[in-house]
Amino acid sequence: MIAVQVVALLLVALGATATVMARDPVRQAVVASLYGLTLGVLFFAFQAPDVALSNIVIGAVALPAMIMLAIAKTRN
């Protein structure tokens, strides 16, 4: 296992923990976006550029945007 993979794996474990521990959904959306990015880095390190691309677009951009919209709608 190469160093990039070890670092990326540890970052993913950390990112998942941080996403779960962020109790306020607005903060959580931002943390989840960062978590999506670290997953993308891990997938690149696993030689999977196709998956990395799709996870960066969905996990780091589309999903947080949808979460923000849903939060905005439930805060009236």
Partner: protein
Amino acid sequence: MSFLPYVVAVWVCVIGLYGIVTSRHLIHAIICLSVVQSSTYVLLLAIGYRKGYAAPIFIDIPRSTKAVDPVVQALTLTDVVVGGAVTALLLAIAVQLDKHLGTLDPDELDPLRD
């Protein structure tokens, strides 16, 4: 060390479940569910990986180059996209719940209340 990816996959799965069980906000629980789902991506890609092998894209490398497994990557790819759509669906259900019941705390959702 060679076991680390599997340990991380299990950790991500279990910590996501912990988030769901202890969640006080349905949107928080939905994001935790997507964290649980991401553990499958880590596991699948870890199974297909082989040190020293290239990515399975032969545009600028010789065709005889050894490459990592493309099948698990294809599986994960569609999983990511469909997971996004399913999460959006769950968010819409949460929005409707909030509209009808005025709360998103799972503990306040009484199954007997109409």
